[in-house]
């Protein structure tokens, strides 16, 4: 088990290296640069060139990459041009809102998906089943900003129950914190649920045709017990995989949703940094998100063992 974790972590290194090169290249071939943005809409080319040279942006690309890579090896992700602080500090400041949002979204998503998936199984072939499948198709295809706008129109503008946008840290109180994250969390949660529902339904249906379920039925075990205790446990492994994989969607979804709801999370940081061409922040944040993504997948893999003792991670 320990060896497995170490191996997984070591495999991170080449992944990060490739990500570093790709991100650096993409950013630097994209036109536009921080100097022009810093000086404003009406700056002249001469002024921009002067600032570029002050910021070291006129050096050859390979030299800039070398400098950044050397910093990287010593654990220094560089300084943000606009935020006037180290990239790591900027990133970790933004982690709390994103984590809260991800947790709320994942909780809403998993509960909704399990409820809908199980309901669809119980009412298989009925209109309810069809509706659940319809919902998950809709959820997968609806753009998150559209869903977000619709929920804002309903809950913030019409009913005035929840704020339109913004963020309050946990230090302002749990309810304040959740109040601001409920709408964006619901948007992401619905999209997550759409992804997980189908897998829940098909996975449980698969298991329900198994012999041990037939035996349980023959023994007169209540259907509720069969579904929740026997079937769900076995069916959960593929569901867990989808949950793990959908984390990636959660990160990208968060970028859109945080921007729409003005939540100062990692997603918004990356989006804003791209629009202001804050190179070091984009590079550093994408690397750190990659690390987080690998970690979450690792944790999901470790959870398999807890859900299903037959999984022997050490054999992998």
């Amino acid at each position: 088990m320990g060896g497995y974790i170490v191996r997984r972590l070591l495999s991170l290194i080449p992944v990060l290296f490739v990500v570093a090169i790709v991100v650096f290249s993409i950013i630097h071939v994209t036109p536009g640069d921080p100097a022009a943005i810093l000086l404003g809409e009406e700056a002249t080319k001469a002024d921009i060139d002067e600032l570029r040279s002050k910021l070291g942006l006129d050096r050859p690309i390979y030299e800039q990459f070398g400098i950044w890579l050397l910093g990287l090896l010593s654990g220094n992700l560089g300084e943000s041009i606009f935020l006037d602080k180290p990239v790591t500090e900027a990133f970790f400041e933004r982690l709390a809102p994103t984590l809260s949002l991800a947790i709320i979204a994942q909780v809403i998503g998993v509960f909704l998906a399990l409820f809908l998936g199980i309901t669809a199984v119980k009412r298989r072939g009925t209109i309810v089943d069809q509706s659940v499948m319809g919902f998950s198709m809709l959820g997968i295809s609806i753009p998150s900003f559209l869903l977000g706008s619709l929920l804002v129109m309903l809950f913030s503008v019409k009913l005035r129950w929840l704020p339109v946008a913004g963020y309050q840290p946990l230090s302002e109180g749990l309810w304040q914190h959740i109040k601001y994250l409920l709408l964006p969390g619901t948007v992401l949660g619905i999209i997550q649920a759409a992804l997980i529902t189908r897998m829940t339904r098909s996975s449980i249906l698969d298991v329900m045709s198994g012999n041990f379920i037939k035996t349980a039925k023959a023994k007169g075990v209540k259907e509720k017990t069969i579904v929740y205790t026997h079937a769900l446990r076995v069916a959960f492994i593929p569901i867990l995989t989808v949950i793990g994989e959908s984390f990636g969607g959660l990160v990208t979804g968060a970028a859109v949703i945080e921007t729409l709801f003005n939540i100062p999370g990692v997603g918004q940081l990356i989006v804003n940094s791209i629009s202001r061409r804050d190179y070091s922040v984009i590079q550093g944040s994408v690397l750190l998100v990659t690390v987080a993504y690998v970690f979450v997948n690792l944790i999901v893999d470790l959870l398999y063992g807890l859900v299903d003792p037959r999984v022997r991670l050490s054999k992998k």
Partner: protein, 535 residues
């Protein structure tokens, strides 16, 4: 039954917390907020004249890139920093220069020395009294770093005569000296000397001015919170434009950065924001139909098609004249701005409200909508079906809309057009190379004198012409606006004859206000002093 289910959810939560753990206690770095006031500020007492106190929550479209007013021509920098800093002089409602931090000023007969007598007892937000050394340090930095300074004040220097007198010594006479010192973009803001001394290449480190509001907190990418400055030294004259008596009538200003317009609209509709800026004309109807809101219109900017006059096909003036001849300004403006209340149809670079610089010279070449003439000019230009590239961005919808109309107009007379759409930073870079494109629509923030438009010095592809330089130079060195008048008309005529660009008209900026807001003004941008929230 549900026990395992719950266990699993707990596992998921644990997984995320582990992730937080690998973030080495980053959460602890979350700075605590000074106060929580999202629409929940307790309202204070009502005075006889109206309510004071409370807060203004402003849904603002972009975060400023810096709060160093000297270095950037970014609109957000201007709008927020002018609440914090002040200048020696400012503009009244007719865009005439009036003193602000200066008590008075004199200009020498040779127009080379501007002597400013400072008001006494004016305090910076750090409690220090404003004196000549602060003005000298700030002005000299502005001359060195700002686009205005670099373009117009080379060799000029501010010097202290006594603690309350500063002389700005110019190398050559410059008609617009005071106008530029009063211009909010890039503002000749007066900082304390020590702030100037500690500044580095990236700008100043502390944001201290003499304005009615002081910086309380800047939460990156979320909001900037300004607080009423209790020791603000107001002038005694009645309020006039950006000058006269300025008073912070609310205790707190929150500029909340909301890039998404639909969110700004939702926020002003639900009452979370008291003011929402940059509302598109398409959404204005929503504001007008809502009894709790009011629409505020103000000059936005001039918008025009700029040609690549130095490279490629459009070096040929006939081709520029051809494109100019086909333009039907009514069609273009209506398509981009829907309704005449949202634009001003004029051939003049400056709005009629500013008669000193308003000029109708060359107006017969404006909005000709003459297809035959355009075809004739195309023929004379030797146009042979080459592809004309229009570059634009969707980041500024009005620019994109007018680009599409021009494309259709040109195609209607058989011109082959390719429309390339980029994001704003990419567009800036591509235009900056000076090659590979032919036309781009662009709007420039409204200025009360056309001399202040940045495109003369730095517009991509702008015609390099000795005559143009001479005209601008002639205007700069004129003794007075009256003396410059013939040159002003001549330059306006030159624009319509040589067509370095085709002006389409002037836009209006739409701001949405809650019905509770009174006293709000827009003088080259929104100003929030003398603004009351009666909520």
């Amino acid at each position: 039954m549900m026990r395992k289910h719950t266990k699993l959810v707990l596992m998921m939560i644990l997984a995320f917390l582990l992730l937080a753990g690998c973030a080495s206690g980053g959460e602890g770095k979350q700075s605590t907020q000074a106060s929580s006031t999202t629409g929940e500020t307790p309202v204070q007492q009502t005075s006889a004249e109206g309510k004071t106190g409370g807060a203004l929550n402003i849904g603002y479209p972009t975060q400023p890139v810096t709060l160093d007013a000297h270095v950037s021509s970014n609109t957000a920098v201007k709008d927020i920093s002018r609440e914090i800093y002040e200048q020696l002089v400012t503009l009244d409602k007719d865009a005439q220069v009036i003193p602000l931090l200066a008590e008075s000023y004199e200009i020498s007969d040779d127009k080379l020395s501007y002597t400013f007598h400072l008001r006494q007892g004016v305090k910076f937000h750090n409690g220090k009294e404003l004196q000549a050394e602060d003005v000298v340090a700030s002005l000299n930095r502005w001359i060195k770093l700002s686009s205005h300074g670099k373009a117009n004040f080379v060799g000029a220097e501010a010097k202290e005569t006594d603690p309350y007198t500063v002389v700005l010594q110019l190398k050559t006479p410059f008609l617009l000296t005071l106008q530029l010192l009063a211009d909010p973009i890039p503002a000749a803001a007066i900082y304390p000397k020590e702030v100037v001394d500690e500044a580095d290449d990236k700008g100043i480190k502390s944001f201290i001015g003499t304005g009615p509001f002081q910086l309380e907190e800047w939460k990156q990418d979320q909001y900037i919170h300004l607080k009423k400055y209790d020791d603000y030294s107001a002038r005694t004259e009645p309020s006039d434009g950006a000058g006269g008596k300025k008073e912070a009538l609310v205790d707190d200003l929150y500029f909340r950065f909301v890039t998404d317009e639909s969110t700004r609209l939702a926020g002003i509709t639900s009452g979370e924001y008291d003011i929402a800026l940059n509302i598109s004309v398409d959404n204005e109807q929503q504001i007008a139909d809502n009894p709790d809101l009011q629409t505020f219109l103000s000059p936005g900017g001039m918008i025009g098609y700029f040609y690549n006059s130095n490279d490629g096909l459009f070096k040929n003036v006939k081709l520029r004249q051809a494109v100019n001849a086909i333009q039907n300004v009514d069609d273009i403006l209506t398509s981009a701005f829907r309704d005449p209340q949202f634009y001003v149809k004029t051939s003049s670079l400056v709005l009629p409200e500013y008669p000193n610089w308003y000029s109708e010279a060359g107006k017969e070449s404006y909005s000709q909508a003459n297809a035959d003439k355009a075809k004739q000019l195309l023929q004379e230009a030797g146009y042979n079906g080459e592809e004309i590239k229009i570059f634009t961005t969707r980041d500024y919808v009005d620019q994109y809309n007018v680009a599409v109309v021009l494309q259709q107009e040109l195609e209607s007379i058989g011109v082959k057009v390719k429309l390339d759409v980029y994001d704003w930073p990419t567009l800036q870079e591509k235009l900056g190379t000076g090659t590979g494109w032919d036309i781009y629509p662009m709007s420039y923030a409204f200025r009360p004198t056309f001399y202040q438009y940045a495109f003369w010095g730095g517009g991509a592809g702008l015609l390099k012409s000795e005559k143009l330089s001479d005209l601008l130079q002639g205007i700069r060195t004129s003794d007075s606006v009256e003396a410059a008048r013939p040159l002003i008309d001549e330059l306006q005529q030159f624009v319509w004859t040589e067509v370095p660009f085709s002006q389409i008209g002037h836009t209006k900026q739409v701001t949405a206000l809650s019905k509770n807001i009174s006293g709000f003004q827009n003088i080259l941008g929104p100003i929030f002093w003398n603004t009351t929230n009666n909520k």
